[in-house]
């Protein structure tokens, strides 16, 4: 196996890891009890998963075809920037539209803050 072969193998491993991660975060989507906890699974781990996968693809192409795809880089940057924001917004929207917290939750700190402000 030559260098590029190894490189390809490693990058596809990167992709596989990313894929597994996204798999796991998807399970989180099922298992977690409420929207706030699910948001962890949906945004944090899957962002990492996507990053891993896309970087894998990017590297793969770089290694195997020595092709630097600017679009892919842009894509990586884009996902990296936006995924947390959308997670944040969803959670906030959920809270403001009075989606109940799960039974197991112990504290709701924001409640006091909002009440104070109002």
């Amino acid at each position: 196996m030559n260098i590029s072969g190894i490189g390809e193998f490693l990058t596809s491993l990167l992709i596989l890891i990313g894929a597994s991660m996204s798999m796991i975060s998807a399970f989180g989507m099922i298992r977690f009890p409420d929207v706030y906890t699910r948001a962890h699974a949906a945004t944090k781990s899957s962002t990492l998963a996507v990053l891993l996968t896309l970087s894998g693809v990017f590297l793969f192409l770089w290694i195997s075809e020595s092709f630097i795809s600017v679009r892919l880089l842009l894509g990586i940057a884009f996902v990296f920037i936006t995924a947390p924001v959308s997670g944040h917004l969803v959670c906030r929207a959920a809270y403001r539209s009075n989606v109940k917290l799960a039974q197991v939750s112990t504290r709701d700190e924001l409640k006091n803050v909002i009440q104070q402000k109002e």
Partner: protein, 94 residues
């Protein structure tokens, strides 16, 4: 071998999408659905990236970025809708 791994990853992503679709259908709250849709978008994007390696073409890279954009805009729009009812306001007053 490499191809095998890629296909396995693809299957993973498809499974992830399936799970998210379950969440979309199941709910229970609207934010849940939105979250799941966002996830579908992100997974789809990764899947296509892998797929373009498999097909040996760069023609779909635009699609990747596009899905990212659309998913983001869609999520924002939906959250704004959930939060305030209106999606685009004429003048933000609160």
């Amino acid at each position: 071998m490499i191809e095998m791994m890629l296909i396995v990853s693809l299957v993973f992503f498809i499974l992830a999408i399936a799970v998210s679709v379950y969440r979309i259908i199941r709910g229970p709250s609207l934010p849940d659905r939105v979250l799941a849709m966002d996830l579908v978008g992100i997974n789809l994007l990764s899947g296509i990236a892998i797929f373009s390696i498999l097909l040996d073409t760069t023609a779909f890279f635009d699609v990747i970025l596009l899905i990212g954009i659309l998913a983001f805009i869609g999520t924002i729009a939906l959250t704004k809708f959930i939060e305030r009812g209106a999606i685009i306001e004429y003048k933000r007053d609160r």
